[in-house]
Symmetry: C2
């Protein structure tokens, strides 16, 4: 699992795409620690099943379908399948540690769960149609604008789904 990119101490993501070569080992370790902590705080259990699903999503910062995940996991004797994966995904979604990308029927691990303080934090996703990576942004101005637009329409916002497909900087965005 994972690619061979463990290097300097650039931040994993600054509202942008994960740097091509960041210290991914530390990146994963940090996010797993955060998950651990979050679970402990809330009296929830980060079981082996759950942990392995999260590790799988963290492996390369790319969105995976539940079936992708089920295939990649080494179930070590027990028979595992989509059911187990969906259960774990639901668990992490509720914690704000995993986000579903509707337009891909796929899931990504949250790259900055700091804001998340345990609840769903409405984020925006930049989805590269070329390399498949997804960046998680959290733009306050954009959020405000959506609020304004909804208010004008007399609409009470519950859950904004913002998924912008296009080309990431590496794949042609800079040009």
């Amino acid at each position: 699992m994972g690619e061979d990119h463990d290097h300097a101490q650039e931040r994993p993501a600054a509202g942008l795409f994960p740097a091509a070569r960041h210290d991914h080992r530390a990146c994963v370790a940090g996010l797993l620690d955060h998950a651990d902590e979050l679970c402990r705080d809330q009296g929830l259990r980060l079981t082996p099943n759950r942990r392995v699903v999260l590790e799988c999503l963290l492996a390369d910062h790319k969105p995976l379908s539940a079936y992708d995940i089920a295939e990649r996991i080494d179930w070590q004797g027990r028979r595992g399948g989509p059911v187990q994966v969906y259960r774990a995904l639901r668990f992490f979604e509720d914690l704000g540690l995993v986000h579903r990308i509707e337009s891909l029927n796929a899931f990504v691990a949250c790259t900055h769960p700091v804001d998340g303080d345990g609840a769903r934090h409405g984020a925006q996703f930049l989805v590269c149609t070329d390399c498949g990576r997804v960046a998680e942004a959290s733009d306050p101005a954009l959020r405000r604008d959506i609020g304004r637009m909804a208010r004008q329409a007399g609409f009470q916002v519950q859950d904004p789904v913002i998924e912008i497909k296009g080309l990431c900087p590496d794949c042609g965005g800079r040009r």
Copy 2:
């Protein structure tokens, strides 16, 4: 098909939800005419199969899954199924007359194809989680904001998916 709401001459939609009681007969007729015209202009054929799918979507301004549509249609002798529906939906999506709502796995007829000039026009959707209706908005400020956010991230936008779930004015948005 359709509900019993044919009344005064309020606009069908002003970037908002269709008025509870608008002249729906005229509303449908107008949109079908527009589809006709658009097809003629582009040398495309609005076949009976396609027309019946569009009519089905227009019937009550609510999103329907392809399978919903396949069930509702009276196939008049010919046998019809999801395959036919998906084909028609693809046809209309390419014309900008139907939009897919990713977060619902469903489709809606475009309520203001005027802007559409035959191509995909990036719109924003307000999805009521209570009554299920969907409003199509086209907010320039919001679009600009998305452009700005993407530019800051070095990201080249191709196709923004904006689907805001919440409560429509009728279902509690005004309160």
